[in-house]
């Protein structure tokens, strides 16, 4: 019986990626103490890990800190109902984002010791973050604004929104795009504009150029697709996730 419960819990965590104790209890249907006893055993065996502080505790399969951080933000955009973000990383309006972005060059210089790279990365963050506001202003499906966080330890910058996503934005002005992957390919490689004579649509091309020139890594998710730029190569792939809006993860660790 217990083995069966453990297996069910493990399968549930595997399926969800990361999950809260409440979700596990609701799924299993046993009392909270009984579920916590099983969770403790799974933790002791090293089959799962626990992250966060009460009341924001998550259980997940063993993973690196970087994978866990990425997983949390992917979870924010894949859940049907968004959980509340920490206020330090939530920018409900463009003004809040702008104020945080203004501090970014100085913070990045401290981390990278490279002034020009820090300015370029700040421009990349500005393009991605402002894109979210530009394309969803007055039209956010549920939660307005964006998530924006720099993780100093893992040397990653993350941005995410629960907006319409790239495909929904682009198909209005380019109806021949048929899916998320096609939309990402256009966004990262073709110049288009939804409001001529503005050169709107340049942003992600600029992002790609900066990432490639500086041999950084970008993972950009939208809908069921992702764009991965790594080792100066760009690939457009199915992500295996369904992301409402966009998620961008920039890995700026300098590789020599």
């Amino acid at each position: 019986m217990k083995t069966d419960t453990n297996r069910k819990i493990l399968e549930f965590i595997t399926k969800k990626g990361q999950t809260t104790p409440k979700e596990i209890i609701d799924f299993i249907g046993f009392s909270a103490p009984a579920v916590f006893r099983q969770l403790k055993k799974l933790l002791e065996k090293g089959l799962i890990q626990k992250s966060g502080l009460s009341p924001n505790v998550f259980y997940h399969l063993p993973m690196s800190a970087k994978e866990r951080i990425k997983g949390q933000i992917v979870r924010w955009v894949t859940e049907e109902h968004a959980f509340d973000l920490e206020t330090d990383f939530y920018c409900p309006t463009r003004d809040v984002f702008q104020a945080r972005q203004d501090k970014l060059p100085k913070n990045l210089i401290q981390m990278t010791n490279d002034e020009q790279l820090s300015f370029l990365l700040s421009a990349v963050v500005g393009e991605i973050g402002n894109n979210s506001f530009d394309h969803n202003l007055g039209n956010w499906p549920d939660v307005s604004g964006i998530f924006f966080k720099i993780d100093r330890d893992e040397e990653i910058i993350m941005l995410a929104d629960r907006g319409q996503g790239v495909y929904a934005s682009l198909k209005k002005i380019k109806p021949d795009i048929i899916d998320d992957k096609g939309a990402l390919k256009v966004a990262f490689t073709e110049i288009i504009s939804g409001r001529m004579p503005e050169h709107r649509g340049n942003g992600l091309k600029f992002v790609r150029r900066v990432i490639i020139e500086n041999n950084l890594k970008l993972e950009f998710f939208s809908g069921q697709a992702k764009c991965v730029i790594k080792n100066r190569q760009t690939d457009f792939l199915e992500s295996g996730k369904n992301i409402s809006g966009t998620v961008a993860i920039i890995d700026f660790k300098i590789t020599i």
Binding site: R94, Q98, Q101, D102, L104, P105, Q116, F119, L120, S122, A123, G126, E127, N130, F133, D134, I191, P197, E198, H199, R200, N202, G203, K205, F206, R209, V210
Partner: protein, 89 residues
């Protein structure tokens, strides 16, 4: 005449901010421009420039004053790359 962009901040990022900068410049600074006078755009002190800001501000300026806008050279890579993206389209 010279337009010093650092007066709008050291991080020039969003389209709405650029639009506001352009409208202010047109209403209060460019009114002093003499006919035929060149406009030098100075990027000194700007740390971060995005293609969106550049497109909204520089393209509007170039459209309003064709052949009269001179973009002064900058050694800042984000300025160089953003201008390249705006000018090649």
């Amino acid at each position: 005449m010279k337009l010093e962009l650092k007066k709008f901040g050291t991080t020039l990022s969003s389209r709405p901010a650029a639009r506001e900068a352009w409208l202010a410049m047109r209403a209060y600074v460019l009114t002093d421009k003499k006919p035929g006078e060149k406009i030098e755009v100075d990027f000194t002190g700007v740390q971060v420039l995005t293609p969106s800001w550049a497109d909204e501000f520089i393209s509007a300026l170039q459209m309003e004053y064709p052949n009269e806008v001179i973009l002064l050279p900058s050694d800042n890579r984000s300025v160089q790359l953003s201008l390249e993206f705006v000018n090649k389209n």
